[in-house]
């Protein structure tokens, strides 16, 4: 068994199909008789639709149908006729209440626009034709008469008097005005502070851009009155639930949702989108499969974006360099509609992490969420936690500099040192060793050699800086009861089923979904390790609601801590059942059977039966009667965690800046993370690498920009800078381990750490190099050059 168990760097079992071009992504799937959908999208950020003339387009070659918002009505049950009722709109599944107790104000979100369009890319009509090119050609022949209305795009402008209303009647474009923490205690801490550091922070809007664009194929079987949706989803069961219970397209048992190979998600494929609703509805209407694949421009326009916060942040300290209070006021841009989990991101995924790794006695956060005429904003890798970490780690760094303290010493002085630790913002940190990660990071990053490297840079006329980020995140989301009390519309447990076949090989069904994370390998490692069977005999099944009964999917770094814990629980049951079978076969008492090294044996004897033979005995059932024991070997489990998990670590970034050009080069990047126990270090390191690249992207390169009229001016890879290989150095990754006490495997989750930790590490390094001059993200050469000029000649600032 050596080499494939828990902790081993096992090469991925799923790789063969990907490296040979045999992956099966949604767009690779084709159905007999399928038609192609092309969406006509709004060219305006805000407009009233006066009329839509489809007559010329309907006559174009190959066109089967064109639908607009008024067409999307529910079907008469068991009939092809339409009811007057419209299909349900897209929902937001997390209720947030404002300070005054009022529920959040969710504007209607129809799958196809009715009367108004609210962002560039909003869905106006769909053309369905024999070929994609015919659908695209016909879409250009649709004539829409718009009354263009004024638009608001900046979060900071949305609440101002006179700002256009994105949804009529939702005043000041305000979705909610929410708070967390103890306001009075925090104000008292600030009133008595020896020093207060204040920062104005913009957390830049990002476009997730998984390399596989979204896609959907809707199918309808008239004989069974049933539906199938192939879709690029991170959580097919949640998609089925929403499409059934809220959109009302089909009852759950008549709707199969399949998420086959999915080419990255980073959050953007959690959500239920208009296109999948329309493809499924149109497939029913036309009784033909309907396929849609996003092009990259559509992805920029209409995939849910990430981040986009404007924040005033303050940190209070006493005379000994100890943090006494933290206060933030954040305006979060929700875009034009509330996406599926949008409301949870700037609230319970953000403000609950504002204590960082620090013992802070008083915290108070106010968050206003606002509508603007931009694409919806929802969870993107890290989701709220990068925004919180950026606030905390910039404040901590700047405070240390203002106090004249070493930022490392300032952090150490304020670290949480004993566990469990209750923060003032809900979370109870249950395990960690923040000093250990910091010490290891300093060593791997060779911080002691930094002064020499800085001098060497200076000799070449370059500026060199060092920046830290000591981040924490809450993962393994989440205890269902806890999230229910905070407004979640669903529970966040996970399911697993372990099916042992008569020949001893094993199918593991999981409600998690793998879209790059390598579950087919790591989950198999766990099973192989626990049951003592070769890893090749384990197959992980996911992503199909017809195979897996239910599951909550993959996001929030939850698949290990929650998904694998469910598998672990099911494996316990398989072993318990196996002991009963073995007791009959070995003619021993069940209490005397022990399971070790893949064998059920009678304690103290050499009588034993291996796992595969036990499985066979369970199925042939010759050695026991049905009254004593049920035949078969198949067990399921639902696992609900008892707490969030708290991955944490320290990232250290070292940059060199050319003050003449503003070009920033990341010379070194070191990450030391505590993810608890690790199943496959190779895969975990890969997750860290990818997260860092996205974090560096946010810090240096990426930024979605709308112009004042609401046109997205960064709508392609020509205009929006994705991190490329030459933008990054080799990454140094280390780990420390404090097992998570809240789940049986001691795992914490690793998927988001890099994206959370990296941005403040990079900006802290740049500002260190620039003599503490602030820079905004993305710190492009133009931004850094201007800051470098200000640093040189303070009086000549712009």
């Amino acid at each position: 068994m050596a080499g494939t168990g828990v902790g081993a760097r096992v090469q991925r079992l799923e790789d063969k199909r990907f490296i040979t071009g045999r992956g099966r992504y949604t767009d690779d799937i084709n159905r007999d008789g399928q038609l192609y959908a092309c969406f006509l999208r709004s060219p305006h950020a805000h407009a009233r639709i006066l009329s839509i003339d489809t007559s010329e387009a309907l006559g174009a070659p190959g066109v089967e149908a064109i639908y607009t918002g008024k067409d999307l009505r529910k079907f008469v049950p068991t009939s092809d006729d339409l009811l007057e009722d419209e299909v349900g709109g897209l929902i937001c599944g997390w209720m947030i209440h404002s300070k005054d107790g009022s529920p959040m104000k969710a504007g209607a979100h129809p799958a196809l626009a009715k009367d108004y369009v609210r962002y560039v890319g909003d869905h106006v009509a769909v053309v369905i034709a024999t070929t994609l090119r015919q659908a695209q050609d016909a879409a250009e022949k649709i004539r829409v008469d718009y009354e263009v209305l004024p638009a608001v795009v900046d979060a900071g402008e949305a609440q101002k008097p006179g700002a256009p209303e994105v949804h009529a009647g939702i005043e000041r474009n305000t979705v909610f005005e929410w708070e967390l923490g103890d306001k009075a205690k925090t104000e008292a801490a600030f009133a008595s502070a020896a020093h207060v550091t204040r920062l104005d922070i913009v957390n830049n809007r990002l476009v997730p851009n998984p390399m596989e664009p979204r896609a959907a194929i809707g199918e309808y079987d008239p004989g069974e009155d049933s539906f199938t949706l192939h879709v690029t989803s991170q959580n097919p069961h949640v998609a089925r639930l929403v499409l059934s219970a809220f959109v009302g397209l089909a009852p759950e048992h008549k709707l199969r949702v399949v998420a086959p190979d999915v080419g990255g998600g980073f959050g953007s494929k959690i959500f239920i989108y208009a296109e999948e609703v329309v493809c499924l509805w149109a497939a029913r209407r036309l009784k033909r499969p309907v396929k849609w694949t996003s092009d990259r421009t559509e992805a920029f326009l209409a995939d849910a974006h990430g981040r986009d916060h404007v924040t005033r942040a303050e940190l209070a300290t006493d005379g000994d360099g100890r943090i006494t209070g933290l206060r933030v006021k954040t305006i979060a841009n929700m875009g034009a509609y509330l996406s599926t989990f949008a409301s949870s991101v700037p609230t319970y995924l953000y403000a609950t992490l504002l204590s960082g790794q620090y013992a802070i006695p008083a915290i108070y956060a106010e968050v206003d969420a606002v509508y603007t005429n931009t694409a919806p904003v929802d969870a993107y890798r890290g989701a709220g936690r990068p925004e919180a970490t950026f606030v905390v780690e910039r404040l901590v760094e700047v405070t240390a500099r203002e106090l004249g303290m070493d930022p490392v010493e300032f952090r150490r002085r304020n670290f949480v040192k004993s566990f469990p630790h209750q923060t003032p913002v809900i979370m109870m940190y249950d395990a960690g060793d923040y000093d250990a990660a910091l010490t290891k990071a300093l060593q791997i990053a060779d911080v002691s050699g930094f002064p020499a490297r800085k001098s060497e840079s200076e000799r070449r006329g370059k500026l060199r800086g060092l920046g830290y980020s000591a981040y924490i995140e809450a993962c393994g989301i989440a205890p269902s009861q806890a999230v229910g009390s905070l407004g979640a519309g669903v529970g966040l447990w996970e399911s697993a089923e372990v099916r042992v076949n008569p020949t001893g090989n094993i199918e593991v069904l999981t409600g998690s979904h793998s879209h790059g994370q390598g579950h087919e390998t790591t989950f198999a490692q766990l099973v192989s390790d626990r049951l003592g069977v070769p890893i090749e005999t384990v197959k992980v099944v996911h992503g199909d609601t017809d195979k897996v009964q239910f599951g909550m999917g993959t996001y929030g770094s939850r698949s290990g801590a929650v998904g694998m814990s469910a598998i672990s629980k099911a494996l316990d049951k398989v072993i318990a059942k196996g002991k009963k079978v073995a007791a009959h076969v070995l003619e021993a008492s069940e209490d005397d059977i022990e399971f070790k090294d893949g064998k059920f044996g009678v304690a103290g004897t050499d009588k034993a039966i291996d796992f595969a033979s036990t499985a066979l005995q369970a199925y042939i059932a010759h050695k026991f009667n049905g009254a004593e024991l049920e035949p078969g070997l198949k067990e399921g489990a639902f696992y609900d965690p008892t707490n969030f998990t708290f991955p944490a670590g320290v990232h250290v970034c070292e940059v060199e800046i050319d003050p003449d050009t503003g070009v920033t080069t990341i010379e070194r990047f070191t990450a030391v993370d505590d993810f608890g126990n690790v199943i496959n270090p190779m895969i975990v390191e890969g997750q860290v690498h990818g997260g860092i690249a996205q974090g560096v992207g946010q810090a240096l390169l990426e930024g979605a920009r709308y112009d004042a009229d609401g046109q997205l001016v960064t709508a392609s890879f020509m205009d929006y800078t994705m991190p490329r290989a030459a933008d990054l150095p080799p990454l140094k990754v280390g780990m420390t381990v404090t097992p998570a006490p809240s789940n049986p495997l001691g795992m914490k989750g690793c998927g988001e750490a890099g994206a959370i930790a990296a941005p403040p590490a990079v900006i802290n390094a740049i500002t260190d190099a620039l003599g503490h001059e602030d820079v905004t993200m993305p710190a492009t050469p133009a931004v850094v050059w201007r800051a470098a000029q200000r640093a040189r000649m303070p009086m000549a600032a712009e």
């Binding site: 490296i19 071009g21 992956g23 080419g263 990255g264 990818g690 392609s716 290989a725 990054l728």
Partner: protein, 164 residues
């Protein structure tokens, strides 16, 4: 419609296509060779890289009709039967892929890189040469390692195979 003939992965193919059909559309839609992916519409991402007469091209930037008489190699044609090409094997060994969507283009680019620049590729060269290939999952760290190792492995192959 216009007729086009070419060799794809060693096999002669002929088809009638809409003249505006791109090579990548021809491969995916006509031949159902779906290993070549489309990740953007501006020739930036490199998910569609194939070899045209032995050189890497972005198949989204070539019309199918331009490939009349050409020899096309796609990711599906790279392995010799069940034996992986050394670059494919290196991507697996060094965890140079996660979601797998950029991978075919990365591997085809990498093989072309070796064909042009030889078997000893330093990290700096590899990173610069990957200018036309985007990956959102890996942070490129392991892709760079995989290409370096794959290049060396191609060098230790018999000459005849390595030339392919």
């Amino acid at each position: 419609m216009a007729s086009v003939s070419m060799t794809v992965n060693g096999k002669a193919v002929t088809a009638d296509v809409d003249p505006r059909t791109l090579l990548v559309q021809f491969l995916r839609e006509n031949l159902r060779l779906t290993g070549t992916h489309v990740g953007c519409d501006t020739s930036q991402c490199g998910a569609c890289v194939v070899h045209l007469d032995g050189e890497a091209v972005k198949a989204c930037t070539v019309l199918a009709l331009q490939c009349e008489g050409a020899d096309i190699l796609t990711i599906e044609g790279l392995a010799k039967g069940s034996e992986l090409h050394p670059m494919q094997a290196a991507f697996r060994e060094h965890h140079g892929l996660q979601c797998g969507f950029c991978t075919p283009g990365m591997i085809m680019t990498a093989v072309d890189m070796v064909n042009r620049l030889g078997h000893e590729l330093d990290d700096h060269t590899i990173r610069e040469e990957l200018e036309g290939n985007l990956c959102r999952c890996t942070g490129y760290h392991n892709i760079v390692k995989a290409i370096g190792a794959g290049a060396r492995a191609m060098g230790s192959q018999p000459l005849q195979q390595a030339a392919e």
